[in-house]
Structure formats: C-alpha cells, structure tokens
Symmetry: C2
Subunit: 229 residues, 2 copies
Amino acid sequence: MNTKTIPVGQDILSPAKQAAADLRADFTRRGIFIVNIVSSPGAGKTSLLEATARHWGGQHKMSVLVGDLATDRDAQRLSPLAPTVQLTTGGACHLEMPLIKKGLEQLGPIETEFLFIENIGNLVCPASHDLGEHLRVVVLSTTEGDDKPGKYPKMFRTSQVLVITKTDLLPYVPFSVDSAVADAQLIQPDIQSIAVCARSGEGIAEWCEMLEAARDRMVASRDDHAAVH
Amino acid sequence: MNTKTIPVGQDILSPAKQAAADLRADFTRRGIFIVNIVSSPGAGKTSLLEATARHWGGQHKMSVLVGDLATDRDAQRLSPLAPTVQLTTGGACHLEMPLIKKGLEQLGPIETEFLFIENIGNLVCPASHDLGEHLRVVVLSTTEGDDKPGKYPKMFRTSQVLVITKTDLLPYVPFSVDSAVADAQLIQPDIQSIAVCARSGEGIAEWCEMLEAARDRMVASRDDHAAVH
C-alpha cells in the first residue's frame, strides 16, 4: 500500500472557520468593523444597540444583523435606527456563518463602518462560533448576578470586552460591578469593561468611543500592512 | 432475501427518552415529585429554591441537583438548606440523563418528597431534553423583558408552569406581568403562572402550595392506577 505525506504550509481550517476568516479579511479591507454581541436573554443587547445608534445619530454608519429563534421583534425595534436584518434560527441556539452570509446578502451593498451581529440570547453555545467578528462583546446585566463569569467561563474567555448593563438598577439588586469585573478577569485578564445604562445613556459615550478607537486601530493596521507589502 | 416485519406494541424510545421515562416511573412509585427548573442565566432559579426551602422549613423534604458549566457556587448556596449535589457539565449547554443518574447516586438513598433539578441557565437547549421530570417550570425574571416567551417558544411550549421572578423590580423595569403571561399563553394556552419575589417572599406560599398539590395529584393518580390493576 502506498502512503503519501502531503505537506501543508498553513493550518487547514474547517469550512466554518475559513468562512469566518474570509469574512473578517474582506470586511477589514472594506473598513467595516464587525462586532459580535453575546449575552443571556434579556441582558439588553438590543437596548445597547438602540442607544449606540442614537448616540452616533448618523455620525458613524452602522448596520445590524439580529438573531433570534423566532419573531422579528428586535428588528422592529432597530430598523427605525439603522439598516437591520432579522435572522431567525427556527430553534438553533447560536448563529452560524451560512445564516450570517444570507443576512449580508439581504442587507445589500450598503455603506457602513460598523456591522453589529446581535447573537442569540444564550451565554453558552455562541461562545464556540466565530462569525468573522473583529471584536466579541459579552453583555452582562446587573440583574443577572455578579457570579456569572465563572459559571459561564468560555463566553467570557473568548470575549475582549465586557459591557455591564442596567446600572440604573444597581441600588435594587445584589450586584457589585467590581466583583463581576474581577470574576471575568480571573478568566480573561485582558478583558476591557464598561458599565452602561442604555435608558439614561450613562456610559454610552465611553462605549461608542471604545468602538471608534477599535475600528481606527483596525484600519491603521490594515494600511500599515498594505504599505509593507 | 428474507425480510421480516417485527410487530411492536409500543413506541420504541431513544435510550435517553427511555431513561427519563424509567426515572419518572421509578420516582412516581417512590412518591418523589421531580421538578425541572429552566431559565436564562441569573433569572433566579437558585434564589427560588432557597426561598422554597425556607418556606417549607423541613415540613416537606426536598433535594436538589444543580447544574452549571463550571463552579459549585449554587451548591454552596443551597447545601445549608437541603441535600444538594452540584453537577458540572464542563461546557455542555444542558443537563442529560447520564449526569442526572450520577447526581442521584451521589445524593444517596435519602428520603425526599421533591427532587428539584436546576438546569443550566439557558433558555434554548434544555427545552429539548426530558430529565424524567413530572413538572417543567420555566422561570422568567421581570428584568429580562415581557417579550421573551415568543422569542424562545420551545422552552415555554414544553413547560407547564411559568414563574415570574423579581417582582420587587417591577417599578423600575419596562415589564408587564400580564403581557408576559399572555405571550406565553399564545404558545402554551394551559401554562399556569405565578409571580414571585424570592427576596421578600411574595408569591412563595402560592408557589409551594402549587407544588404540594401537584405532588398530591401524582400520588393519588399512582394509587388509583395501582387499585385498578
């Protein structure tokens, strides 16, 4: 029996990982910064995006792909504020690349600087799926308890930013922002954290500036890379 | 080629469904009522069980299997109040029968009237897994929004009871108990609903009475069945 060793010069990615890497490379070239927002159900992902759109008021262009198992309730909320496509999984617990691609087709050839992907409300399954994002943001609301990072470690380990929402409820719930951040840092020491209240606008300017700076870094890194080659 | 038709007198269940059905039958015989509690992360499942144990104060015997991806934080909270075993899935998004069986072995041959299974905080995946429960209870906190039943339909469709938690926060959040219940009833018209606040104890007596009545019905039905045969 003949056997043959095939030399490989690079990692062979699974089709899903390859599709995510290709999307990221393509959107980097186009200057579009992709943000994958993950959280429990009802943590305030949609409210955060509403507040983001209101804060920018057209100054920065944003589009949204919003995922749910069923209904177009979130797209109904976001569509008046930004180009939005509702993705419904019919039951699946996370978004995957084929649905992202369909959503992008439906969004069409719009100009945008930021593409937000609002994932399914689920603090477990979306952690395992790269959607081509430049930044993964985990949203934790003050009403969920400050013990959640350690209990759902993969989601916090794979995120670069922790947004703590519903700070207006802090007087009424047993939640310490410092404890939640410390618990997340045990898992992901480099995680950046911001506390916000979408209803009052507290922290939203800081959140938006963080996004703008992250996109600027992506664009600068792309241009540096192009200048070298 | 010979072919043979094998007549089957009953549904052939998958091994997981069979194990769940066997557990339910066994615990029915022993008079132990199994309650599978499902919800988003941080909806208040553990707090509800703490309040339940405090309300009963030993008048009714309860045991708990509590599931998490990681940590034994929930078992640490519940152990002082009731025999509790922490199940950690290491990453899996729901509990399954083999882990339930291991938990029961670890719990040992204790006397109990109620076995609570606190599932992984996840409003999607646990919906698809029968754990041998007599009653599935979905917990929804007032801070998650009253639009969740329609967005996570399978979980509400497969539950018999909806417990709305954190009613103390109603003055501060955009949540209507009536809207949430109506949304759940669109999916599951027979769902029974109770609003509670584990911190103040509001609704906890009603919740406990509901559980006691449900267990009484199970025992009566078992005895009727035994009398006929």
